[in-house]
């Protein structure tokens, strides 16, 4: 039955493509750059896509994909339904209503699968991971809960959730109290604890010279001593200013983050607290530009949780998950470690090796012919977990796969990066240094499901 449908589609290609181009024109600023006139691998009905596939001439990879096409196509349609912000997908609904019934059923099935899994007393993480890596449906708090489970924030036994959550949130509040208060607030709290009686007496005097108290530990605002609370506070104002500046620029097209509404400001303040706390707890790396981008999807997902209690504790939860997420890649941010075996350069060379193992021709072209080294494009891809390359919805979908991948986040990330290169192979092969660099630094819009499928099917680098 599906074959029959495949045959029908090519007839409608013309109108669909035309429809698509119109939509493309008026979908401005969704955060990712879509170059006009160069649609290429962007999601299309299967028939159209198989045309495109012939351009990417990789043999075995794509034969496998061809066989899996019906599944992938369905998933792609599922993705289409789920991409609220993906304006480029709207045209599909017009022409393909006869498939929409199938895709709605697919989504509902997946949703109930996931709900079933997380309602178990002892959750089977492996199974959950497998479902999650095909994409988590929107709506409810599925994504938030699944991410928390897989990242290890929530324990797999459901009974322990309440306890864990409240403990962690309390810990976070305590940390905030210790590290984020201004020195004058700290001093005030100390005073209130010890000297309330003395104070009252002093202030009942109607006149006379005010009592002078000695200061301990260089505890005055102009202190230059390292141990002084004030000195440490002022050292961090620079970082705080940097964080504020970056937060202003996070996802400016989304009301959630930007704008002067109290809503946007509250979110920015929460994110500011998380980042500031992180920088204080990690003096070796402190804050690096871009951490705000990595935090944004986490915080967004947790704040849009339909469970009231979870949404209001989004700050505490996203802090812990931010730490968990960055736990293996935090070394990428440290400049001193750049050249070491855990640094970014070593990861980039692994990306290069992975590409070589999968597509030597492209690798050779990039490395030698057009001399586009991975440092030029891959640095941002890897350190920021691809948050700067796609719009928020796509990032959420990609992160579903990254987080739930059995290979581990970093491994999967390398695979996705490699897949990104493979998907624009034809353009890369025909481009020189400047064109390739421009392409890779402004990665075009692409069918995310296709990208993730390619990533999934890569041969691992066994060297």
């Amino acid at each position: 039955m599906l074959k029959g449908k495949k045959l029908k589609l090519p007839d409608r290609l013309g109108s669909l493509v035309a429809g698509f181009e119109d939509k493309d024109e008026d979908s401005g600023g969704s955060g990712s750059v879509s170059e006009l006139g160069e649609e290429l691998e962007i999601l299309q009905p299967t028939g159209f896509r198989s045309d495109r596939e012939s351009e990417t001439d990789d043999d075995h990879d794509h034969n496998e994909v061809q066989e899996e096409e019906p599944m992938v196509k369905r998933k792609m349609k599922v993705d289409a339904e789920l991409e609220h912000n993906g304006r480029q997908l709207r045209h599909e609904k017009d022409g393909l209503s006869h498939i929409s019934v199938i895709k709605t059923i697919e989504v509902d099935e997946k949703r109930s699968d996931i709900e079933y899994e997380i309602s178990q007393k002892e959750i089977n993480l492996e199974k959950l991971q497998r479902i999650a890596s095909t994409g988590i449906p929107e709506g409810g708090n599925l994504r938030a809960t699944v991410w928390k489970l897989i990242l290890g924030y929530l324990p797999p036994s459901r009974d322990l959730w309440e306890k864990e959550l409240s403990e962690n949130r309390k810990k976070y509040a305590k940390l905030k109290e210790e590290l984020l208060l201004t020195p004058s607030e700290l001093a005030r709290m100390k005073e209130e604890a010890f000297q309330s009686n003395k104070h009252n007496n002093a202030h009942n005097d109607t006149a006379g010279p005010l009592i002078r108290h000695e200061i301990s530990h260089e505890d005055h605002p102009l202190s230059l001593g390292k141990a002084s609370v004030w000195h440490q506070y002022f050292e961090h104002t620079e970082i705080a200013e940097q964080i504020d500046r970056d937060l202003q620029r996070t996802h400016p097209e989304m009301k959630f983050f930007s704008g002067e509404s109290s809503f946007g400001r509250k979110h920015r303040e929460s994110m500011r607290n998380v980042l500031l706390l992180f920088s204080k707890l990690n003096p070796a790396i402190r804050y690096v530009q871009g951490m705000n981008e990595v935090l944004a999807p986490l915080y967004y997902v947790f704040s849009t949780d339909t469970d009231e209690k979870n949404a209001s504790n989004a700050e505490a939860d996203s802090f812990s998950c931010f730490v968990l997420l960055l736990s293996d890649s935090v070394d990428h941010f440290c400049q001193q470690l750049d050249n070491s075996s855990v640094g970014i350069l070593s990861t980039l060379s692994r990306l290069s090796d992975l590409l070589k193992a999968n597509d030597e021709e492209l690798w050779r072209h990039l490395e030698f012919t057009s001399k586009v080294k991975p440092q030029y494009y891959g640095f941002r891809w890897i350190t920021l977990l691809l948050t700067q390359e796609f719009n928020l919805q796509s990032i959420l979908r990609i992160w579903d796969s990254l987080i739930s991948s059995p290979f581990g986040i970093q491994e999967m990330l390398l695979r996705v990066c490699c897949a990104m290169l493979l998907c624009v192979k034809s353009r890369l092969l025909s481009g020189d240094f400047a064109a390739n660099l421009k392409l890779l630094q402004h990665y075009p819009e692409i069918n995310i499901e296709h990208l993730l499928q390619v990533a999934q099917d890569l041969t691992p680098d066994t060297s």
């Binding site: 005030r188 108290h213 200061i215 605002p221």
Partner: protein, 190 residues
Amino acid sequence: MVLVLAIGDLHIPHRAPDLPPKFKSMLVPGKIQHIICTGNLCIKEVHDYFKTLCPDLHITRGEYDEDSRYPENKTLTIGQFKLGICHGHQVIPWGDLDSLAMVQRQLDVDILVTGHTHQFKAYKHEGGVVINPGSATGAYSSFTYDVNPSFVLMDIDGLRVVVYVYELIDGEVKVDKIDFKKTATAPSAH
């Protein structure tokens, strides 16, 4: 948390060449939000120096100031507190608490910052506070030659003020603090 520097009576260049180096090393830009200056700087260079520390600068005229455009007194509101500035040479007898209290009532402020005597003082009376930051350079005054350089930094936090007094005694910087709270319903002093 608003940091306000109260400083004055430097008498540069007539009676002193510059701020003591230990004071200068502590006064760095970026920490202080407001500067209140009682007067007698006396030249423009000192004014510019203060501007580099903090752009929000309030000065009143002392009798030796070369710039005659500074006002005789000034009031400003910071947080919950109303502050008033007056150099003090106009108030006779100089440094007399009751006369200063009159100025405070006239300006209707919670904290009056005044100078001229080159002696640090902090008095509480009748619902108001008078602070004299002394002379930041230790310049001699009409009363005495023996003046310790001093200035004041106020940390205004809601209804509470912590006053940090910086004095240079025998070449060492000594810091004390004083705190007081404004009573929530301050009675009118009339």
